[in-house]
Amino acid sequence: MKISKAGTGVKLELLEGERDILTQLIDDFREFVMSEDITDPAVARLFPSAYAESEESAEFRKYSEPALRETKERDSALMRDSLERGNIVNISHTEFDSWLRGLNDLRLTLGTRLEVTGDEFGGEIPDDDPRSFLYSLYGWLGWVQGSLLEVEF
């Protein structure tokens, strides 16, 4: 993938395989974010408690969670639609936050599932580990998000 500044926005040039995998990740996410299983650690991470007290937390959740779910739905749909149009994606200034949030949602989901601690990239994951592909995806998403931020700043 090539990431460059284009006017007030950012241009992504994806390889066919990159576009397929990103689309797949988004589709999986969209399916999973609709599940309201708060015992799933990835769901719990995406919809965190705002208060230490469970009663206050539940009260807060009542109005914040639908809004949160709607944002995730909208951001992921925007990314999905942009990718559907081709291998070159122009992210406008107004779409930029949606991409940042949407990519972050994918990283949070993968990272929680992989139980990352932040020290994974010292090469301790052997190639024959069944999780090594997911780790490489997780690392790649971090690179994409980091590059978007670098281009913007």
Binding site: F47, A50, S64, R101, L108, G111, G146
Partner: protein, 96 residues
């Protein structure tokens, strides 16, 4: 339950003081969010300068948590929802 009615004095709570105590937003460290991303989110959500946002991000990173904003409950709850939208792990607590 006892049938003897005893009047127990309520501890005195000054409601005005209670309501005036601000609410703090705490952002907690997590191993997933990128440092540059967390900085960018503080700039977006609170309108802080890059320098201030970086300082708060480093506090989260080094101390495990940082008090990033303080104010009236409703406004702070709205800000926490925005932080959650961006995937930051943020909680609210009333200032002591």
């Amino acid at each position: 339950m006892t049938s003897t009615s005893t009047i127990v004095a309520e501890p005195e709570v000054d409601l005005r003081v209670e309501l005036a105590r601000p609410w703090n937003i705490i952002v907690w460290n997590d191993p997933i969010n990128l440092m540059t991303y967390v900085t960018r989110v503080f700039m977006t959500v609170f309108g802080y300068s890059k320098e201030k946002s970086e300082r708060l991000m480093m506090e989260v990173h080094n101390d495990g948590r940082s008090l990033v904003a303080s104010g009236a409950r409703e406004a702070m709850e709205q800000a926490v929802t925005r932080l959650h939208e961006f995937g930051l792990w943020a909680t609210l607590e009333q200032a002591s």
